[in-house]
């Protein structure tokens, strides 16, 4: 009897040891990966790096101003499109559960979440690039498609968590429906929606595949959204595979900036969700 308890306890201890070992043995290398990228990148970043465009191949110096500006513009445009559409579609889903349209829309959102990013890229190529040429705008459309499902789901889930009494009280006071939604429901769920938006931006800002055949790339600083534009992930892809050490350095620097962007946005989301105690 005692011996069996002993065996069972040892088994339990061994199992715990194994779990702890596996959990930490994989987390440590993952952290080392992050630190390595930060270490390689932080040495490259300085004012010159942020304000200059890449030098011609084989020449020293240069920076990633074109990619930085390009990423901000492309992602900015995607947000302008995806945020209103996403929030409104999310409101529809949370307000009309059980209707046929809501079912199919929900299905489409799930489908979109599963579509590989490269497929979005080639589809947008046929929609916009083939008739109109490579442009930052077509890249933004591709990223919008990636961004929509996240914003919609975040909005829907947040609004479903709100107590129905909130809406009922407002409606019973005679407030019109759209004002109830826009001035009562959405502000109450604001934190959740906002964190969904930030999360979606963090997700798409690192997407390369949809931009390969849409925004293409640009060696110059460009503000024209109807023309090709460089972006941070694309410049990393181009320079990562190049044989020049200078260009590797640029790519490390760009990786660092992109990584900081993404980590910052994620931490902001964490702070928001913790403050308002939201489960996404």
């Amino acid at each position: 009897m005692d011996a069996r308890i002993g065996i069972r306890n040892t088994k339990s201890m061994l199992f715990k040891g194994l779990i702890v070992f596996l959990a930490f043995v994989i987390t440590l290398p993952l952290i080392i990966v992050l630190l390595y990228i930060i270490k390689q990148g932080v040495m490259q970043v300085n004012w010159h790096f942020l304000t200059h465009v890449p030098a011609p191949e084989g020449e020293k110096g240069g920076g990633i101003a074109n990619a930085l500006v390009g990423s901000v513009i492309i992602v900015g445009q995607s947000s302008v499109l995806a945020i209103p559409i996403g929030i409104l579609a999310g409101i529809y889903l949370s307000e009309n559960p059980g209707t046929k349209l809501a079912y199919y829309t929900g299905l489409c959102v799930d489908v979109l979440q599963g579509v590989p990013s490269i497929v979005v890229g080639i589809v947008v190529y046929f929609w916009l690039v083939k008739p109109l040429g490579f442009s930052a705008a077509s890249g933004s459309i591709a990223l919008t498609i990636m961004m929509l499902p996240i914003v919609i789901r975040a909005t829907e889930h947040t609004l479903l968590l709100l107590p129905p009494s909130l809406k009922e009280a407002a409606l019973s006071l005679g407030v019109p429906y759209h004002r109830v939604i826009l001035k009562v429901i959405v502000p109450c769920g604001f934190a959740g929606i906002l964190s969904g938006i930030i999360l979606s931006i963090a997700r798409i800002i690192g997407e390369t595949a949809p931009l390969l055949f849409t925004a293409l790339g640009n060696n110059y600083l460009s503000f024209a959204v109807t023309k090709p534009m460089e972006s941070l992930p694309h410049i990393i892809f181009t320079y990562a595979t190049s044989p020049y050490d200078d260009q590797h350095d640029l790519a490390w620097g760009a990786s660092f900036i992109l990584l900081m962007f993404v980590l910052f946005l994620n931490i902001v989301t964490k702070l928001i969700t913790r403050k308002w105690n939201i489960q996404l």
């Binding site: 900015g76 001035k183 906002l194 190049s242 020049y244």
Partner: protein, 349 residues
């Protein structure tokens, strides 16, 4: 309430910025895409051109195959290619396309063998056998035969080729097809072939990167990539049986041929006894009729002026980057081709 308002404001501000930015941007940009072979030269020339002219030329090195396809789809202003259009491609485009020679360059066979620091002598057959997967180890007697005194290690050969359609591949396979009947029957020449062995690197950069990283690797890249990366490259046996060092001089010798009026000519396996056998012209491709997709006459003129600059002032950038500049007669031919370009039926230059 406040937060909603600020969100609205932020969205409006972003939208506003986007609109003003796109409105303020002038149309002084040209878009080119294609050959990675010519990319170092183009990026240098275009940077110089941008200093004296108010034109920004965005050239993306996506491979010659991509350059031709994007020109066909009319998504770029000009394409760059190291291979002239083949019959299929010409048929698909349907309208005349001008091939303007920009420079000539050498494709070198580069390798990374630990312990070997001298240039190897390779014959066309050696290279073909390696790329066919018949020679798989560096210590093979076939390679040792032409490399007396070099101690070749017992190391598997890692074959590296281009992963995408590429003019460099075209030049390389064109040479192998001419010198090796086995290669000609099994693989043939094209910008993208069904490689019997090895791994693909994306772009000349990718191939150079892979060779540099991988012990035992062999690859082929444009001379400039090998030089700038301080990689070793082989001496290649030419038609007269001599092993030729790829260089500016030996490339120039190979490119010194009578150009036909359309400038589409292959330079590989040259007859010149001191010429390097794997060299080629690289071309810029534009439509002969520049009025398509409601392009403005000004834009057409911009493209033509840029290419005019390339074959004249731009040529001074060739030698520092180890491209062979166009010969006088080649420039004459190129001028004639450029002058034949029209806008709405009228000559542009």
């Amino acid at each position: 309430m406040k937060t909603i308002k600020s969100l609205k404001l932020a969205i409006a501000a972003i939208a506003g910025i986007c609109i003003t930015l796109s409105a303020s941007a002038q149309d002084n940009t040209l878009l080119g895409a294609g050959s990675t072979f010519v990319y170092p030269l183009f990026s240098k020339i275009f940077a110089e051109y941008g200093k004296t002219h108010d034109v920004k030329v965005n050239y993306q090195s996506i491979g010659s195959g991509g350059g031709i396809l994007q020109l066909t789809n009319k998504t770029v202003d000009f394409g760059g290619s190291d291979a002239p259009l083949n019959a299929d491609q010409a048929k698909k485009i349907g309208v005349p396309v001008l091939h303007i020679p920009m420079a000539s360059g050498a494709v070198v066979v580069t390798y990374n063998i630990p312990g070997v620091t001298t240039a190897l002598n390779l014959t066309g057959k050696d290279i073909a056998d390696i790329y066919l997967g018949k020679l798989t180890n560096w210590n093979s007697p076939q390679i040792a035969g032409t490399n007396k005194g070099v101690k070749l290690p017992d190391l598997p050969i890692v074959v590296v080729h281009r992963s995408e359609g590429s003019g460099t591949s075209y030049i390389f396979t064109d040479f192998l097809t001419k010198v090796n009947p086995d290669w000609a029957s099994k693989v043939g020449k094209a910008s993208a072939v069904n490689w019997p062995a090895g791994l693909g690197g994306k772009g000349s950069e990718g191939v150079a990167g892979l060779v540099k990283q991988t012990p035992g690797a062999i690859g082929y890249v444009e001379l400039i990539y090998a030089l700038q990366n301080k990689m070793l490259y082989a001496h290649i046996q030419n038609k007269s049986g001599k092993f030729i060092t790829p260089s500016l001089a030996s490339t120039t010798l190979a490119s010194n041929v009578e150009l036909p009026a359309n400038a589409e000519v292959s330079l590989t396996n040259t007859d010149n006894p001191a010429g390097y056998p794997i060299s080629s012209f690289t071309w810029a491709l534009i439509y002969k009729e520049q009025k398509y997709n409601d392009r403005s006459a000004a834009k057409a003129k911009m493209v033509l002026e840029l290419l005019w600059y390339n074959i004249h002032e731009g040529q001074k950038n060739c030698e520092p980057l180890n491209y062979a500049p166009l010969s006088k007669s080649a420039v004459k031919v190129a001028e004639k081709i450029l002058k034949s370009a029209t806008y709405d039926g009228k000559p542009i230059l």
